[in-house]
């Protein structure tokens, strides 16, 4: 008897046979198969009850209604609100990406106080009590020194209750310096002010217009209320409405238009005057409407007839005189023709002369104040709060001149000239404390270096940003606001709408972090600052304030999500014929109608840099979310490189080829760019998109491309103080 290796062999065989007849191999194989179908690290979204919450989007001034799909208490998708007068179910890509902002990594999660140098990104977390008392103490000190007017606020908008609360706070406290970020609204406001005698927005009933003449407006690229504009475009397509786009670059709007007329940049005003020339010469204008006898009209007529014949306009604009003649006739003979301006998305102000010249076309054809025409629209009327009492310091402070000069002297017609803010601070106007609300001036104002210098001069900066943006990064204290999906807020949509709508943003989800509504925070600061400021804010909290302000509309706003009752939203002003002064009361019309030139050396800078707006890149307060940056074409952004558009002829002249690197130089700075050849851009121009080159935010956005604001500056319009720059001289050198 001997146990040899064959016994062990036998044991093994027996074991294997037993194993084969046991569930181990089969079950394990099956289970492994299942295991490989879903790795443990791949997220599995929890299921639950699906509900929809109606709210409003605040990511741009468009004022769209949204409907947010929720699964239990998670928001999972933002959709356009069906039946909303602005967007009726449609929604833009930025609005769709809102949840990436809500749940994104770039939120400021709790009040922060700066620990290191400004912009260094070192912060200590503080409580809300500490944060508010700190700000209140600073304000107290300022007031004590009697320098209440050195407090300023830059807000993304001046519409709605939250900006109104901030403005009220400043006023009671004793500062006139409530500013809003610059836009074409500034220009339209001044134009209305000088030609009609009151400040109003301009609204366009584009849905019913019969002919659209756009002077570089990105009608389908985010101008006005973007979704509404795209919907209007579709209705034009359907009805066969003619659209003519005047622009140096084949933008999407130009491509979509029936006719694209390339124009020398900055000479759009001259084309408008040339068209006016033809219209007047051929007596195609509405005599009854312009009141031929009015002195404003006569001065205007004399000017255009003598200086802006198609011949001379051809020289200025580069557009053939035949084209001008034909366009003028086409425009004037059409039913309900509308001329419109505001470059790109209308984020820049432009010259007053351009707005006046374009508005003159609308006036000449009499398409004012009627269906398919142009309207003057007052600011929303529903914010009517009781008067307040301020103390002596406050009363004196509010009477002082604004830092940006708006409202006094030669800037008398302007409401806000934030474009002048940085220059004013740098040249000595003191700002001791700055509130920054829903805006990112360090990033989005032109001439970044200038703005940064100005910010360095301001001793205390309070950011209310929900996100760690460039301005928040350069502030001293951050009081993070809820994002719009976590808060109540009235959202007036006024951008270019002839019938304004007020929507209600509602908390779709409970606040995700230790943030506070900016409306509540300003109320708390007011309380902490004490009388008389505190007395001007009698509300328990922001929601009470909003409910009280909305009054009997509160219920409707909650139920429908919006109100378009003109009595509530804003009053459309009735403009009687002849009321519109085409000369704007300006003594020397040649100052109004003058080309905007950079005075720099044309030898060192033979080209022009033209910033352009892209729908797929957010360029305001909101940084482009990951989904949106994903849609950016690789002819615009490749890796970290930005691509500038140039005509192949320009490329040849500069020894460049598709995809090659170049140094883009302007008087303001230089940047390394890549070159994209595009037949749709005028030779001699270099086009660069706005909205890239963020230094703050997360890795999905930061460090990608160049911020065009670093390369451009401001050019002050002598007639208005507006920033009339449309670009800057530049050179492109092969790198």
């Amino acid at each position: 008897m001997k146990i040899d290796r064959r016994c062990f062999l036998s044991l093994g065989i027996g074991g294997a046979a037993g194993l084969a007849l046991s569930p181990i191999p089969w079950k394990l194989a099956d289970d492994s198969a299942i295991w490989t179908q879903m790795w443990p690290w791949t997220p599995v979204p929890a299921d639950g009850e699906a509900t929809y919450v109606k709210s409003a989007c605040t990511l741009c001034p468009g004022g769209c209604g949204i409907s947010v799909r929720k699964i239990d208490n998670r928001a999972v998708k933002i959709e356009g609100m069906e039946g909303h007068p602005v967007n009726d179910g449609g929604i833009c890509l930025l609005g769709l990406s809102g949840l990436q902002l809500l749940y994104g990594p770039n939120r400021v999660k709790t009040p922060l106080k700066r620990a290191g140098e400004r912009g260094e990104g070192k912060w200590v977390k503080i409580t809300w009590e500490e944060a508010i008392s700190e700000v209140a103490k600073k304000l107290g000190d300022i007031k004590e020194k009697g320098e209440s007017n050195s407090v300023a606020c830059i807000s993304g908008s001046d519409k709605g209750t939250v900006p109104a609360l901030f403005k009220r706070f400043l006023s009671v406290f004793g500062s006139p310096n409530f500013m809003r970020m610059p836009s074409i609204q500034d220009s339209y406001e001044i134009a209305n002010n000088i030609s009609l005698g009151f400040i109003a927005q301009t609204g366009f009933d584009l849905e019913h217009a019969g002919f659209i003449l756009s002077f570089g407006s990105g009608l389908i690229e985010g101008w006005g209320s973007p979704v509404r504009m795209i919907r209007a475009n579709s209705s034009w397509r359907k009805a066969g409405i003619k659209v003519v786009q005047v622009e140096p670059r084949l933008s999407n709007s130009a491509a979509k238009a029936d006719k694209w007329i390339p124009v020398n940049p900055g000479t759009e005003y001259a084309l408008a005057l040339g068209l006016a020339h033809v219209i007047i010469r051929k007596s195609l204008y509405r005599n009854d409407f312009v009141h031929a006898g009015a002195s404003g009209f006569i001065r205007f007529r004399d000017l255009v007839l003598s200086n802006y014949s198609p011949d001379s306009v051809e020289k200025i604009t580069g557009i053939k005189k035949e084209t001008i003649e034909a366009l003028a006739v086409d425009f004037a003979r059409s039913e309900r023709p509308v001329a419109i301006c505001g470059r790109g998305q209308g984020k820049s102000q432009g010259s007053l002369g351009e707005v006046m010249a374009v508005q003159a076309l609308n006036v000449l054809v009499g398409n004012i104040n009627k269906e398919g025409g142009v309207f003057a629209v007052n600011d929303p009327a529903y914010i009517a709060w009781p008067a307040y009492q301020s103390d002596a310091v406050g009363a004196a402070g509010i009477k002082k001149e604004r830092i940006d000069g708006a409202g006094s002297g030669k800037y008398g017609f302007a409401k806000s000239l934030t474009n002048r803010f940085a220059g004013a601070v740098n040249s000595g106007s003191p700002v001791s404390l700055l509130f920054v609300l829903e805006s990112n001036p360090v990033y989005s104002l032109p001439d970044t270096k200038d703005v940064k210098d100005a910010f360095k001069k301001i001793p205390f900066i309070v950011s209310f940003s929900s996100f760690m943006d460039e301005t928040a990064l350069n502030s001293d204290i951050i009081l993070p606001n809820h994002v719009y999906l976590e808060r109540y807020e009235d959202v007036p949509a006024t951008a270019g709408l002839s019938k304004p709508v007020v929507s209600l943003a509602r908390p779709v989800v409970s606040p995700q972090f230790n943030t506070k509504h900016a409306g509540d925070v300003i109320l708390l600061i007011a309380k902490e600052v004490g009388s008389p400021v505190a007395d001007a804010f009698p509300w328990k909290d922001y929601q009470t304030c909003l409910e009280g302000t909305a009054g009997d509309k509160w219920k409707i706003l909650n139920k429908e999500g919006f109100s378009s009752d003109p009595a509530f939203t804003a009053q459309v002003v009735n403009i009687s014929p002849g009321r519109f002064d085409l000369s704007g009361g300006v003594a020397d019309l040649s100052i109004l109608f003058t080309p905007v030139n950079s005075e720099e050396d044309s030898k060192a800078y033979p080209l022009f840099l033209l910033p352009y707006d892209s729908f797929r890149i957010a360029n305001g307060y909101i940084g482009t979310p990951p989904f949106v940056i994903k849609t950016v074409e690789d002819t615009v952004l490749k890796g970290k490189d930005i691509l500038v558009e140039i005509n192949p002829a320009t490329a040849r002249a500069n020894g460049l080829s598709a995809g090659s690197y170049a140094t883009l130089k302007t008087p303001k700075g230089s940047a390394r760019v890549k070159v994209h050849l595009f037949e749709g851009i005028m030779p001699g121009l270099v086009a660069m998109p706005r909205g890239l080159g963020h230094t703050a935010y997360d890795n999905y956005l930061a460090g990608k491309g160049i911020n065009v604001n670093e390369l451009i500056g401001t050019v002050e319009d002598p007639a208005s103080g507006l920033d009339a720059a449309w670009g800057i001289r530049a050179n492109l050198i092969k790198a």
């Binding site: 008897m1 146990i3 016994c7 027996g14 074991g15 046979a17 046991s22 181990i24 443990p40």
Partner: protein, 237 residues
């Protein structure tokens, strides 16, 4: 060349010899009916039985972890007090989706206060209702994420009863332990109660083939180009 060759030859002869001896011995002993022959069989049986025991007894215990439900729920007690059977609590929502295990709010309709003298109810009210915390129920029949399962179509359209897939859970007075497959993380009720893979009841397993079997029988649809059965997207997402 010759030396190493010789050496190897020598070695090989040796080994060969051993082999030969061993096998001759084997034959010899076999003839006598004694020796390793018996051991060979014995060892075979030992190996065989040991693997069977490991496979059928120990392996299942290792494969599944047992978890207790947070609250021991008595189905019988509840079914008696409601009018509409299972659907009284396991409701369909108006959008046609199925709510599954009731939410706390539903339970709290009745259980705001402790109703009876069950210690489990006391735990439920004190730990969950009072603290407004959802009960982390372990769902026996939870399907993998890739599965789209519509209760509506099975219950409302096809008129199936709950027992077909869920078994007589409504007749239980206590919740059985939840057995989770350690490898896949799925419930044993879905992935096969019996280790043999043999189903005694329709609810013993709810894998794809089980669904497909019934679908083929009941719907007879041949919408899939690939399989001539129900198309993939009928049950998957």
């Amino acid at each position: 060349m010759s030396t190493p060759d010789d050496k190897t030859k020598g070695v090989s002869a040796e080994t060969g010899g051993e082999e030969a001896v061993a096998s001759f011995k084997g034959v010899d002993e076999k003839e006598q009916g004694e020796g390793p022959g018996g051991f060979i069989v014995l060892f075979f049986i030992i190996g065989f039985v040991a693997s069977l025991i490991i496979g059928w007894v120990i392996f299942p215990k290792l494969l599944y972890s047992q978890k207790r439900q947070p609250v021991d729920f008595n189905h019988v007690l509840h079914v008696e007090t409601v009018d509409n059977g299972c659907e009284s609590c396991h409701i369909f929502r108006e959008d046609g989706s199925y709510a599954g295990v009731p939410k706390l709010a539903q339970c709290a309709d009745c259980h705001q206060e402790v109703q009876g003298d069950s210690p489990q109810e006391k735990i439920f009210v004190e730990e969950y209702v009072a603290k407004e915390k959802e009960v982390p129920w372990l769902v026996y029949s939870k399907q993998p994420d890739c599965v789209f399962f519509s209760h509506t179509v099975h219950v409302k359209l096809a008129g199936m009863d709950c027992v077909t897939c869920h078994g007589p859970i409504g007749e239980s007075t206590s919740l059985k332990p939840y057995e989770e497959n350690r490898l896949t993380g799925y419930s044993r009720d879905i992935w096969g109660k019996s280790m043999t893979g043999i189903k005694k009841n329709s609810w013993d397993r709810m894998k794809m083939d089980d669904c497909a079997e019934c679908h083929e029988k009941e719907t007879g649809r041949k919408s899939s180009v690939q399989t001539d059965k129900d198309a993939c997207f009928v049950c998957h997402k």
